[in-house]
Amino acid sequence: MIAHAADVAILLIGLAMALAFWRLLRGPDVVDRVIAIDTLYVNACAMLLTYGIRGATALHFEAALVIAMLGFLSTAAFAKFLLRGDIIE
């Protein structure tokens, strides 16, 4: 039962990543693209966790944690750059 549920969740998260990627390519403004990247990394993190549940292995957990941390830093850096034109002043 868990394997089937994880398959459904992986399908849904894959669709979510495809939608976010579409917004990343299309986005009328650069802010839309930043939001799309933010969504992409959170979805990638959720997909790695789901994949770990499906295979009953804790191997993917560290990758998910690293993606979550670096993703926040990159979003903060993008937003700072858009606000000030520089990241470290």
Binding site: L12, A16, D38, L82
Partner: protein, 107 residues
Amino acid sequence: MTTLIEAVVALLVVTGGLFSFLGSLGLARLPDVFMRLHGPSKATTLGIGCVALASMIFFTVHEGAPSVHELLIIVFVFMTTPVSAHLVAKAALHRRLPARGSRGEGR
């Protein structure tokens, strides 16, 4: 693993996937930047929270020892998502992106 726990884990995983999908659907379909910011920053956060909770329950039962390191991801994501959404909203205001229903350019 008992059927009840399997059912709870399966339900949490599917709910998490559904919330992630809805958040990204909002990102793809809503008409302006400020609305598009809402979908991912709320629904997707709840989605990853559900998936991490399911992972916590699953590995606690699967390995027979409490597995709390998924709590790290939950706490980290729930703390950082509002901060990044605030920063991105400030950037959007700074660039004077048009909001739907506003007259002319600006806010």
